[in-house]
């Protein structure tokens, strides 16, 4: 033994490689370890007692448990891009060179000046922050910032995570959660029966609880079973893997930590997140050891007794050289012998039972002090246990026996089943009065709990239940457990004024729960949220049952009536990165690019997301800022001409003998009477009468139509159309195909648009008579079908030119070459927005899911003589009542003012507040043509208010702009330009 590992013992240590010693860093100090150590075992071996600070009171805390139930030893690993906070030191294997830091302390966990908070602990009961800092209410945000600084877990990473994570999918006949005797036995039985088996064990080694002890026969069984399992090709064994979620139809999620003893390979993920669809789940997650309740039971050195023996047999680490062991079942004598064999000086064994029997007598005969009918009342020592106050409680009046000095207090309140997966699978629970624990009461969806997870804390029971479950045979009836000789670990007299902690991580003591009960809390769900009981990273594994029992006692209720809190996935914390996997950055947010995207990028386009697409918002050559650029672009379109990539608009091909009739049902206006080669602007409503989408429909054949819809609405429109066809009018013979990606489309607008079209298609007659507004020509370019539709969004003479997407880049390039002679420029969505606002054309800002055609001035598009989706609703009285918001235009007194974001409209900006809002600005822009700021707004009875003065205000920003209500069409009301 090196001197820097004072607590390493030669006994046990089955998981570590004693031949090698490596080093890692804890709070800047080098700590030696053997490969196979967890962070916790290495820290314990080095004699480190304080490894963390509690959440609220900053009390010093040490390692308490062995696995996922660890409430105290939370650490931060790595730094910069590898920084990961709130890792449980008990389950993270140490790697050489690893950097580990304690957390929630300043300057460090050993000193921590915030520890002063503990001095005022009586002033900080449950709900303290809610009660104290809510006045005045406006100051809460300020208080909260300070409180968060003091109360918290590890620091959030500030850099992007550099680790790799992977997703995996698998199918299985049987998924087994847990690598202890029950799980192994089930895996063997299922595997030998030819089933596809996945065995997920959360530790590095198989064996579960068998690894925490020495037992010749059971160890032999373990070795033999592992050998047999490894020989079965249909059994997949996954270590460091935890089943974290159970979902509908037997989908399970697994979190796998990839451990590399000799360094990580390039590209190797740190964690894999599995989704496994399995016919059956066998829950063999074992039991959770419960703490005992006594004063200052959270001091470093107080530890679960079962966990303490686990540290000996797994890691060769002594949690104490002179420990006191306390509990109420025979395991404490076995654990005492483990410690004696490992060289410890066991100071005393404290048994709650008056008459524990032979094991106690035998140990006492070997000269170990055994106190029967006694309990620990309080731990002494602050940064490290120094002594335990032991009281006799078997007599009428409890009395102090002795203050027994010790460097560790190892306690156990027995085990309760790990119910997380059973409960997540919506299994029912029943109360086992022998175990004093909730146990599974059914097999939800055929998913069965076995072994400790069922309440069978016995090797023989566990392996026989495993064999039955593996073969899908019924389990033996749960053996009636021995009579409840166990003192309930929570039902102990309070003989010390010191706090008795229930939830260590969140500093919830028994008094907090009693206080919540006195204040009227009855539901455990409410008590949980009020006191934060069980809300830490350990998910209340140990605290939950005790909290329930204390609440039940405090309100004088049966524990079965109190019930349990809802178990939700994940059962143990999972890194966000693992859940995201590779779906981050561009893979997380796929970008759809139009055929001309390369040109846009090369010409310095600034892009904006539109649905899943990216579109040029403006071209930087036209202005240094978006504001400058869009004004220049819009001006160019109105004066000469512009071209814009409109490929992202949704396009749907509708064919069939009933296509016309069908479209009459989709659009408020009539489509069936369109002549061949003609188009019409149409509105679609939801069945409740609100505008759903808009676009232009062209008749491209006798039985064929080409629909366009908005970029963002394309997929919902397609679903809507399929619904109308398949569900509402299935007798119609119509075939619908989304074809957005098949086409590239460019809109050419402005006074010189026809010149550009002629240059592109010399010899083609594109005069008003050959190609009038809402007309269409079909021709060829590059030997490809080319559709030219004369439609206008900008209000100018405008053509939309469509070609196969494969030829889109070529078409755009050709057009841009021809355009330069005509001084026609490419423009982006920002200018397009300004142009359409000048024309009062609506977009999703106005068709916001609440407005009807009438509201936005498109009532004339509703043909009430036919049935179309949503039209019936328009005759409901609510849509003709006064007070509906209507689309209007706004101008402002200060011509070029910018309008506040989220602006509301009021009649006045003086006098008492709150002033009623008449409506809001939906879109605004600076009009290059009018040389002033214009806006569209939805205002209550807006049409009646045209000419009235209003204020455009933002109470949040403290801004106010005076203006006037006007008609929403700002330029060319007659539409002479688009007919030019």
């Amino acid at each position: 033994m090196t001197t820097s590992q004072p607590n390493r013992t030669t006994l046990g240590g089955r998981l570590i490689d004693r031949t090698q010693i490596k080093n890692f860093q804890f709070d800047g100090r080098s700590i030696p370890f053997h490969p196979g150590d967890s962070i916790a075992s290495a820290l314990l071996a080095s004699g480190r007692s304080v490894v963390g600070r509690s959440f609220k009171l900053h009390r010093p805390r040490g390692v308490y448990a062995l696995g996922a139930d660890e409430p105290n030893a939370l650490v931060t690993t790595g730094s910069g891009p590898t920084l990961t906070p709130n890792q449980r030191a008990t389950i993270i294997p140490v790697e050489a060179g690893m950097r580990v830091a304690g957390q929630n302390a300043w300057p460090n966990v050993q000193v921590d000046l915030f520890g002063l908070l503990d001095r005022v602990r009586p002033l900080l009961p449950a709900g303290f922050y809610y009660k104290t800092f809510m006045w005045p209410p406006s100051q809460w945000l300020r208080y909260e910032r300070q409180i968060r600084k003091m109360a918290g877990l590890g620091p959030p990473p500030t850099e992007a995570d550099s680790a790799k994570y992977a997703h995996r999918n698998a199918h299985a006949d049987v998924l087994i959660a847990g690598g202890g005797p029950a799980g192994l036995s089930a895996a063997l039985a299922a595997g030998e029966a030819g089933q596809d088996v996945i065995l997920a064990a959360s530790g590095q080694a198989l064996g579960g609880g068998l690894l925490n002890q020495y037992h010749q026969a059971q160890d032999a069984w373990l070795a033999e079973t592992i050998t047999k399992l490894k020989a079965l090709p249909n059994v997949r064994i996954m270590t460091m893997t935890t089943v974290v979620g159970a979902y509908e139809h037997n989908l399970f999620t697994l979190s796998e930590r990839v451990v590399m003893r000799d360094g990580r390979m390039e590209g190797q993920p740190e964690e894999r997140f599995w989704q496994v669809r399995s016919q059956r789940l066998i829950i063999a997650t074992g039991g959770i050891e419960r703490p005992l309740l006594f004063g200052d039971n959270d001091r470093p050195g107080v530890m679960l007794a079962g966990a303490a023996s686990g540290y000996i047999w797994r890691f060769g680490v002594l949690a104490g050289r002179s420990p006191i062991i306390a509990g109420a079942d025979d395991r404490i004598y076995k654990i005492a012998r483990d410690f004696i064999d490992a060289g410890a000086n066991v100071r005393a064994v404290i048994d709650l039972r008056d008459d524990p029997g032979a094991m106690a007598d035998l140990l006492a005969a070997d000269g170990v002090r055994v106190e029967r009918g006694a309990m620990i009342v309080r731990a002494h020592g602050r940064h490290k246990v120094r002594a335990a106050e032991v009281w006799r409680i078997s007599e009428a009046k409890p009395r102090l026996l002795e203050l027994i000095s010790a460097d560790a207090i190892l306690t156990t309140g027995g085990f309760g089943p790990a119910l997380q997966l059973h409960a997540q699978a919506r299994g029912k629970l029943s109360w086992d009065s022998g175990l004093r624990a909730f146990v599974p009461a059914d097999n939800p969806d055929g998913n069965v709990s076995i072994g400790g997870a069922r309440g069978s804390f016995n090797f023989e029971l566990a392996i026989s239940e495993g064999a039955n479950a593996g073969r899908d045979e019924p389990l033996p009836t749960l053996c009636s457990q021995q009579a409840p000789s166990v003192h309930a670990p929570w039902d102990l007299p309070r003989l010390s004024k010191r706090p008795r902690f229930v939830d260590f991580q969140n500093d919830v003591a028994d008094k907090d729960i009693e206080l919540a009960a006195r204040e009227g809390y009855r539901s455990i769900e409410h008590v949980k949220r009020y006191t934060t009981l069980g809300m830490g990273t350990d998910q209340g594994r140990a605290a939950g049952p005790m909290g329930l029992a204390l609440l039940a006692a405090a309100i004088g209720q049966e524990i079965t009536k109190t019930g349990v809190t809802t178990f939700r996935p994940p059962t143990t914390p999972v890194t966000f990165g693992a859940v995201a996997g590779a779906t981050k950055g561009e893979l997380g947010h796929a970008i759809r690019r139009t055929a001309a995207d390369g040109w846009h990028a090369a010409q310095g386009a600034s892009f904006i997301d539109a649905g899943l697409w990216r579109r040029p918002r403006f071209y930087k050559a036209n202005g240094a800022t978006v504001g400058e650029a869009y004004r220049a672009e819009a001006k160019a379109v109105r004066e000469k001409g512009g071209m814009i990539d409109v490929s992202t608009l949704g396009k749907i091909d509708v064919q069939g003998p009933d296509a016309g009739i069908f479209l009459d049902k989709l659009y408020t206006n009539r489509i069936s009477n369109l002549r061949l080669g003609r188009g019409r602007y149409g509105l679609m409503l939801r069945e409740d009468g609100r505008i759903f989408d808009d676009g232009v429909v062209f008749r491209t054949g006798e039985d064929r139509f080409h629909l366009s819809c908005t970029t963002g609405g394309a997929s919902a429109v397609y679903q809507h159309i399929e619904y109308a066809l398949q569900v509402l009018w299935p007798s119609l013979e119509v075939y619908v195909t989304p074809v957005t990606e098949e086409w590239f489309a460019v809109a050419v607008s402005g006074p010189r648009a026809r010149d550009l079209l002629t240059a592109l298609l010399p010899g083609l007659d594109v005069t008003n008579s050959a190609l009038p507004l809402m007309g269409m020509l079909e021709t060829t370019l590059f030997d490809q079908r080319l559709l030219v539709m004369r439609i206008s969004y900008s209000g100018e003479l405008s053509y939309e030119i469509n070609i196969s997407a494969d030829w889109g880049a070529a078409l755009w390039r050709r057009l841009s070459e021809l355009a330069s002679d005509l001084e026609i420029i490419a423009y982006g969505t920002e200018a397009m927005g300004a142009l359409r606002i000048e024309k009062g054309h609506i977009t999703h800002a106005e068709a916001d899911g609440r407005t009807t055609p009438d509201d936005v001035g498109l009532g004339s598009l509703v043909d009430k003589k036919k049935d179309a989706i949503g039209v019936r609703s328009l005759s409901l009285p609510v849509f003709s009542e006064a007070g509906r918001k209507q689309l209007v235009g706004l101008v402002v007194d200060d011509g070029a003012a910018t309008l506040p974001i989220g602006a509301q409209i009021t009649v006045d900006d003086q006098g008492a507040t709150p002033r009623p809002s008449l409506g809001h600005v939906t879109s605004w822009a600076y009009s290059s043509e009018l040389q002033r700021t214009i806006a569209l707004a939805l205002i209550k009875d807006g049409k009646r208010l045209i000419g009235e003065r209003i204020f455009i205000v933002s109470p949040v920003m403290g801004e106010s702009v005076a203006g006037k209500v006007v008609d929403p069409v700002f330029i060319d009301k007659e539409g002479s330009r688009l007919r030019a």
Binding site: Y247, E248, H249, L251, R277, D445, E687, D688, Q719, E722, Y723, Q726, V727, L728, P730, S731, D867, V871, R872, S873, L876, P877
Partner: protein, 88 residues
Amino acid sequence: MLLIPCPHCGPRPETEFVYGGDARVKRPDPENSTDEQWTSYIYARDNPKGQHQELWLHNAGCHLWLIVERDTVSHAIGSVRAVREGQQ
């Protein structure tokens, strides 16, 4: 996550589907329905405990609208058929 047996594509995860609400709701004749009947069609929905018939669109698959029998308590799925079947 539900596993929905699409009659055309086979068993597929819920994420491929779009939920379409209660399949038993029928669109009334707009000409011969009172405002009450019409608004009930649009807004009023049962929230049954147990057996339910639901519309699901296999959006990332065959694009069929399906009628799925689902138990709202156990999530057990009974029959699944295309809406079109039996209507034409």
